[in-house]
């Protein structure tokens, strides 16, 4: 009898665990948002986190943006050539970068660089009782840790995404114009004709959403870290995996909504 029940029971427990954690995570997001709109704001902490998350990620974003643009230049040119439509290389690259690859790839890079560090930092503060120390002084860890990161992400993600877009479009230009011989005029005027306000807006919305996702997941994982160094390392790994996955899932969802409006 125990045998037969073991499987449904373990499935049941797993489902309950997932539901519990999902609930906890939404509660955590709610508290972070609540404290975001509860003054006073720790402005110098926000600035410091923008430096950490934004400024120090710029080189990485420029590098990945350049290579993404160059790869797209080669790949899309190859495809367009089959239809004799090479002239559309510029808008093809610009649209895929602005609508999709810019927000997603820059988010994934920032998650790898800053999200992991953030989980580890908050996790270490948790296991060394620094989070409790804040609480014991009646200072909310949300105000001092989560909110500055949330605001820094809302500033950094769209900006880094925009930098990524610009660099990638120039990367495509290098390949399409300098290497494969398209005219520069065709490349850029195509972009101007086909990229609209809506594309840029959609890309920005994506960047903002991905920023919220990264801060939400990495702060939550750090805040609820397990015991010791092992707990922190597990929190760091799972936060990167979970944030990256959520970015892609949410991206699909946003696309299916955005393409209809």
């Amino acid at each position: 009898m125990d045998y037969i029940l073991a499987i449904p029971r373990s499935i049941g427990t797993a489902v309950l665990d997932v539901l519990q954690e999902t609930g906890d995570m939404f509660l955590f997001l709610g508290r972070t948002l609540y404290w975001t709109f509860t003054p006073p704001l720790k402005v110098n902490r926000v600035v410091r986190q923008i430096g950490f998350m934004g400024a120090r990620s710029t080189a990485l974003i420029v590098l990945t943006g350049a290579f993404t643009g160059m790869i797209l230049g080669l790949q899309i040119y190859y495809t367009l050539q089959k239809f004799g439509a090479e002239a559309y290389l510029g808008p093809a690259i610009a649209l895929s970068v602005i609508r999709e690859l810019g927000p997603v790839l820059s988010a994934l890079m920032i998650i790898g660089r800053a999200g992991s560090a953030l989980s580890a930092e908050i996790g270490i503060m948790r296991i060394t009782e620094q989070v409790d120390a804040l609480e014991s002084m009646s200072l909310s860890p949300f105000r001092y840790l989560m909110v500055p990161n949330m605001l820094a992400a809302l500033v950094s993600f769209p900006l880094l995404g925009a930098i990524f877009n610009v660099v990638a479009i120039y990367g495509g230009y290098l390949i399409g114009v300098k290497l494969l011989g398209l005219s520069a005029g065709t490349y850029f005027s195509g972009i101007k004709d086909f990229v609209g306000y809506k594309d840029i807006r959609d890309g920005m919305i994506k960047s903002l959403c991905f920023g919220v996702i990264m801060i939400w997941v990495s702060c939550y994982k750090g805040y609820n870290t397990g015991h010791g160094a092992e707990g922190v390392s597990r929190a760091t790994t799972t936060s990167v995996v979970m944030a990256s996955t959520l970015v892609l899932v949410w991206d699909y969802f946003l696309n299916s909504v955005m393409l209809n409006f």
Binding site: I124, M125, T128, E129, Q130, D132, A133, E135, S136, M137, S138, L139
Partner: protein, 269 residues
Amino acid sequence: MNKSPSPSGRGGCNLGDLLMIEVKNIHKSFDGQAVLKGVSLTVETGEIFAVIGGSGQGKSVLLKVIMRLLEADSGDILIDGKSIRGLRGQALYKMRDRAGYLFQGGALFDSMTIYENIAFPLREKTKLSKKEINARVEEELEKVGLSGMGHKYPEEVSGGMKKRAAFARVLVMRPEVVLFDEPTTGLDPILVDSVHRLILWGKKTYGFTAVIVSHEIPEIFGVADRIGMLSGGVMIETGTPDEIRNSRVPEVRRFVRGLSEEVSAGGIA
């Protein structure tokens, strides 16, 4: 009644107030492992209450439950005769403003220097000027024997210094109630004595009420007004230092004797 402490200038003592900690039948378990199984204790205003007991008996958990850093599964905690178990948000923060907590590991913010750590609660919670804060921090550093060490980061100093810096960070806010989690563990005998004297001095000067978790036997007998021994999730005995020293409870006798013999034989550093 002194509800919100004004750390800026409160030097008076509260011996006349009602302030008192009353812990009633607290239960707390972690993932089915029962750590506290009905702990009760009372601490009177201005009193120093010491909690002794082997390691892993839940002494830190008890202090955290009193501070509401951990939620008890059942039981009640009263401050000034009022339950604090249901407090949320600002009401909880108001209660905590009256208290200070010295963490077992110090819990200094490692992104700040020792000076900044001690100045932090003053900067965040009071309207004192830069100069006044500086004076207060230097004064506290001096008291704990860390003058001139303020510019160092927590990782750059010894465990004992971290403890004393954390001590200063708690005292700088002039709390009415202080919960000390092993304030002297890891300090050499001379520093143990100086920290104990600092606690007695604080009690006399600020009139704070304290709960101290301590392994310093027999030194703690000279500091505490009353002592309780935590074992197996309950307070197995509570009494004055003399009563505990001459306890008839075998476990208490063994603990008190054992530790003081080991200490006199140089067993515990």
